[in-house]
C-alpha cells in the first residue's frame, strides 16, 4: 500500500476514433493510475463506450496514442472490463463463463478451480449473493447475470486485475446490491487498484469517484477531483439542463375505472402510473410479461393494440437487429395507417421523423440501422415504438437502462403527459428515482406482492422495508 507507484496504467494522448464520418471520439487525453477511481459521465452517444473500448484494447485509435504500463497490451497491464450489454454465454455455467475470460484455467480439474475462483470473487464483491457457480447463466435473472459479469471482472484470472472498467454496472441491480458493489469498488481502489466507473446515476458517481471526467460529443469537457463538482454543475457540464426531480408529488388526479387486474393482485386504473418495485428478480418482469401475453394474442391483431411493451432487455425483448430505426419504430403501428394490408410508407416516415425529434434519437437519418445507435438511443427507439401506438395500456420492463439523465427527465414528462390523456402505465424499475414518479407502487417479494404503496408513502425506506421484511424477521 505504501508504494503506490504513480506510474499510470494507461495513458491516452489525443486519442481519436472515427467510424466513417462519425467522430465517436475526437481527441481525448486521459491517464489512469493505480488508486484512481474515475467517474466517467456523459449523455448517450457522448463516446463513453468507445473510450472504454480504446482503454481495454478492443479498438485501435484512428489517431493519437495509447500506452499501457508493463505488458504493453491491455490485458497484460491488468485492464478488465465489464460491459453494459451482458456478454455471458447463456448456455454455460457461471464457472464455465469464467473460463472463457481466463485462458490459463486448463488441464485436469479446471472446473474445480474455476468454481473456487468465481465463488471467491462473488463472495468478495457481493457477500450473501446466493449464486451457484454450477448454475447455467440462462437460468439466472438479469441482475444475477450482471453480478456474475462484475465478479468475473474482479476475479484474479492468473494476473491481478489492476484497472477494472465498469460500464453502467448498477443499471440492472437493485439498491441494496448496488451498495455492495460501490463498497467493493471503494475498497478495491483503497487497496491500490484502479476503476473507471461509468454511470448515469450521478449519486453513485459522487459516492465512489475520486475524479470525474465529463465527455460530451467525443471530447473531454471537464476533468476535476470529485469535491470540486456539484450535482448541478456536473449536469450542466454534460450539456443537459435537468430539472431536479424533487417536486414529484404533484396533485393527484382522479383516475378512471380499473383497466388492469391480475390474479396476483396487480391493478391499475385509467390514467394511472403504477410502479413495480422490490429487489431485482423477484418476479416483477415475469408478472409484466404474463400480463402482456394475456392481453394480446399470437393469433390475431386488432387495428389498434390493447397493450404495448417497452423492453429493458433490448437484444432479447426489444430490438429487431436487421432493421433500420424507422422500421423498428413503426412495427407496432403498421395496422393503423395501412390501406388494404399495404404499409403506408409516408405515414410511417412521418411518425419516425416526429419521434426522432420528440425523444431525441441521435442519428442524422432514421433509415440508418438500429444497431448503429448507442444502447441508450436504442432504448429511445423502443419508447418511441410504444408511445407512438395508441394502445391504452403501456407496460414497461425496466425501460431506462443506459438512458442519460436529461433524456430520463424528458421521458418522465412524456409519460406524465400521456397518463394525463388517459393512458395507463405499468412500470417496473430498479431505480428508486423512477419509482417515485409513480402514483401507486406494488412491491414484489418472492414472486408475490408484499406491499402496495400510495402517494407520499412511496419512499426508498418503505420500499426497502417491504422488500426485505421477511428476511429480517427470520
Amino acid at each position: 500500500m505504501s508504494d503506490h507507484e504513480n506510474a499510470p496504467i494507461v495513458t491516452l494522448t489525443d486519442a481519436a476514433k472515427h467510424f466513417g464520418p462519425v467522430r465517436a471520439l475526437d481527441g481525448v487525453s486521459l491517464s489512469v493510475s493505480l488508486g484512481d477511481c474515475i467517474g466517467l459521465v456523459g449523455h448517450n452517444g457522448a463516446g463513453k463506450s468507445t473510450l472504454v473500448n480504446l482503454i481495454n484494447g478492443g479498438l485501435a485509435p484512428s489517431s493519437g496514442k495509447i500506452a499501457f504500463a508493463q505488458g504493453q497490451t491491455a490485458f497484460g497491464a491488468g485492464v478488465r472490463s465489464v460491459f453494459q450489454e451482458l456478454s455471458l454465454c447463456a448456455n454455460l455455467t457461471v464457472a464455465e463463463n469464467l473460463r472463457i475470460a481466463h485462458s490459463a484455467l486448463n488441464g485436469f480439474g479446471w472446473r474445480r478451480r474455476a468454481r473456487a475462483e468465481i465463488r471467491a470473487s462473488l463472495d468478495a464483491v457481493f457477500p450473501g449473493h446466493g449464486i451457484d457457480p454450477d448454475a447455467e447463466v440462462g437460468t439466472l435473472s438479469i441482475a444475477e447475470r450482471q453480478m456474475v459479469e462484475i465478479a468475473i471482472g474482479f476475479a484474479s484470472r492468473g494476473s491481478e486485475a489492476r484497472l477494472v472498467i465498469l460500464d453502467e454496472p448498477t443499471s440492472a441491480l437493485d439498491a441494496a446490491i448496488a451498495r455492495q458493489l460501490l463498497a467493493h469498488v471503494k475498497q478495491f481502489c483503497a487497496n491500490g487498484g484502479a476503476v473507471v466507473f461509468i454511470s448515469h446515476m450521478l449519486g453513485e458517481v459522487f459516492e465512489v469517484a475520486s475524479r470525474i471526467v465529463v465527455l460530451k460529443d467525443g471530447k473531454v469537457v471537464a476533468e476535476r477531483p470529485t469535491p470540486e463538482f456539484t450535482r448541478a454543475g456536473l449536469v450542466d457540464a454534460m450539456g443537459h439542463v435537468a430539472a431536479e426531480s424533487g417536486g414529484v408529488a404533484t396533485a393527484r388526479r382522479d383516475f378512471g375505472p380499473e383497466v388492469v387486474r391480475t390474479d396476483q393482485g396487480l391493478s391499475a386504473r385509467r390514467g394511472e402510473i403504477v410502479g413495480l418495485s422490490g429487489l431485482a428478480g423477484h418476479g416483477q418482469a415475469a408478472a409484466l410479461a404474463r400480463l402482456f401475453l394475456s392481453r394480446s394474442s399470437a393469433w390475431h391483431a386488432g387495428k389498434t393494440p390493447d397493450v404495448v411493451f417497452v423492453a429493458g432487455d433490448r437484444p432479447r425483448d426489444g430490438v429487431l437487429p436487421l432493421w433500420s430505426i424507422l422500421r423498428n419504430i413503426s412495427i407496432s403501428i403498421l395496422r393503423n395507417d395501412a390501406t388494404r394490408g399495404m404499409v403506408n410508407r409516408q405515414a410511417e416516415a412521418a411518425v419516425a421523423k416526429d419521434w426522432k425529434t420528440r425523444i431525441g434519437i441521435r442519428t442524422d437519418d432514421v433509415t440508418n440501422p438500429v444497431l448503429s445507435l448507442s444502447g441508450g438511443n436504442q432504448q429511445k427507439v423502443l419508447f418511441a415504438r410504444a408511445l407512438a401506438s395508441p394502445a391504452p395500456v403501456v407496460i414497461m420492463d425496466d425501460p431506462m437502462r443506459g438512458v442519460d439523465v436529461g433524456t430520463k427527465q424528458d421521458v418522465y414528462a412524456m409519460i406524465r403527459a400521456e397518463a394525463a390523456r388517459g393512458r395507463t402505465f405499468l412500470w417496473y424499475s430498479t431505480e428508486t428515482e423512477e419509482i417515485c414518479q409513480c402514483d401507486r407502487v406494488f412491491v414484489f417479494r418472492n414472486h408475490a406482492i408484499s406491499a402496495e404503496l400510495n402517494g407520499t408513502d412511496i419512499t426508498e425506506e418503505k420500499i426497502l422495508e417491504a422488500s426485505f421484511e421477511m428476511r429480517e424477521a427470520s
Binding site: S297, A298, W299, R316, L320, L322
Partner: protein, 311 residues
C-alpha cells in the same frame, strides 16, 4: 457501389457466367434454346424456392422438407381426378391446391400442437404424403389433359408459360414482403420471435400462414411439373428438396432468417439449371458433375456472404 451490396446480384452474375460459358462451347448457336430451357426448368425451382424462402425467413430451424412429397401427392391426385379428360384443368388445379392446403395445415399442426422441430415434423409428414401418393398412384402414369399439357409446355410473348407463372408469383411475394404489413410481420418474426410477439405481432398466425403458403407453392409446382412432363411420377419431386434450399441460400437470403431476397431466388434457379447444362455440355460424368455443382454452390455462397459482411 450501392448495386454491389445487393445480395441478389451474385446469383444473377453466376447465372450469366454459366450461360456465357455454355453458349461459348456452341459458339453462340443454341443460346436462345438454352435460355428458353433455363426459364422453363428454372420456373419450377423458383416456385418452390419462393415458398422455401418464406419459411426460412421465419428464423433458425424453420424449413419445409416435405416439398417433394407435397409436389408428388398434389400432382398424383390432380392427374387422377382429371383422368386426361379435356376441360378439367381447373378441377385439377383446385385439387392440387386443396392438397397443398391440407399438407400445410398438417405440417403446422405437427409443429404447433406437438411442438416438434420443423425439420422433424415436415420430414415425418412427407413420408405420409409420399405413401399416400404411392397408394393412390399404383404405378399408373396418367397423362394430363391435352389443353393443360399444351399450356404447360407452351409459350407467350416468346417466354415459357411456366416462367410467366413463376414470375407472377415472384412479384406477388416481393410486394407482400416489401410493401405489406404482413411482410413486415414475417420479417420481424424471423429476426426474433419473442421481440415480434412483444411488439404485438400475431406470430403464430404468421407462422401458420407461411407453412401453408409453402405447401401451396409446392402443390402448384407439382401440378405444373406433371403437366409439363406428361404425367406424375413418384420421384418427380426428389431433386427439389436440395434445390429449394440451395436457391434460397444462393439467392442471398439469410439462412438465419428475417432477411429475404426475391430476385435472388430467380437468379439462383436459373443458375442451378445452367450450371448442370454447362457441365453436361463439357461432357462431365455424373459423379464429377455433382462434385463440381457442390463446389460452385459453396463458392457462390461464400462470395455473397463476405460481400454482405463488408457492406
Amino acid at each position: 457501389m450501392k448495386l454491389f451490396s445487393k445480395p441478389w446480384l451474385w446469383s444473377w452474375l453466376a447465372a450469366a457466367a454459366a450461360f456465357a460459358v455454355t453458349a461459348a462451347l456452341t459458339s453462340g448457336r443454341g443460346g436462345g434454346e438454352l435460355a428458353y430451357a433455363a426459364l422453363s426448368f428454372g420456373a419450377f425451382a423458383a416456385i418452390v424456392g419462393l415458398g422455401q424462402m418464406l419459411v426460412i425467413t421465419l428464423g433458425p430451424g424453420n424449413v419445409d422438407l416435405s416439398i417433394p412429397a407435397t409436389m408428388t401427392l398434389a400432382a398424383t391426385l390432380a392427374l387422377k381426378a382429371m383422368g386426361s379428360q379435356p376441360g378439367t384443368a381447373f378441377l385439377g388445379l383446385g385439387i392440387a391446391l386443396a392438397v397443398g392446403l391440407g399438407a400445410g395445415l398438417a405440417n403446422y399442426a405437427l409443429i404447433y400442437l406437438l411442438r416438434l422441430p420443423p425439420i422433424i415434423a415436415t420430414l415425418a409428414a412427407s413420408l405420409v404424403y409420399q405413401s399416400v401418393a404411392i397408394w393412390s398412384n399404383r404405378g399408373l402414369r396418367i397423362k394430363p389433359p391435352t389443353g393443360l399439357a399444351d399450356f404447360a409446355t407452351g409459350r407467350f410473348l416468346g417466354l415459357p408459360n411456366v416462367a410467366w407463372v413463376g414470375l407472377a408469383l415472384a412479384i406477388v411475394v416481393w410486394v407482400i414482403l416489401e410493401r405489406s404489413v404482413w411482410g413486415r410481420w414475417l420479417l420481424a418474426t424471423g429476426q426474433n420471435l419473442r421481440v415480434a410477439r412483444l411488439a404485438g405481432i400475431p406470430v403464430e398466425l404468421v407462422r401458420a400462414a407461411t407453412y401453408i403458403s409453402v405447401a401451396l407453392f409446392s402443390a402448384l409446382a407439382g401440378y405444373l411439373l406433371a403437366s409439363f412432363s406428361g404425367g406424375a411420377a413418384l420421384n418427380m419431386g426428389q431433386e427439389y428438396l436440395l434445390m429449394s434450399i440451395a436457391v434460397v441460400v444462393i439467392g442471398g437470403s439469410s439462412i438465419a432468417g428475417g432477411d429475404s431476397n426475391v430476385p435472388g431466388v430467380w437468379g439462383a434457379a436459373l443458375f442451378m439449371f445452367l450450371v448442370v447444362s454447362m457441365l453436361n455440355s463439357y461432357g462431365a460424368v455424373a459423379g464429377l458433375r455433382n462434385v463440381l455443382t457442390g463446389t460452385i454452390i459453396i463458392a457462390i455462397v461464400i462470395a455473397a456472404s463476405t460481400r454482405r459482411n463488408r457492406a
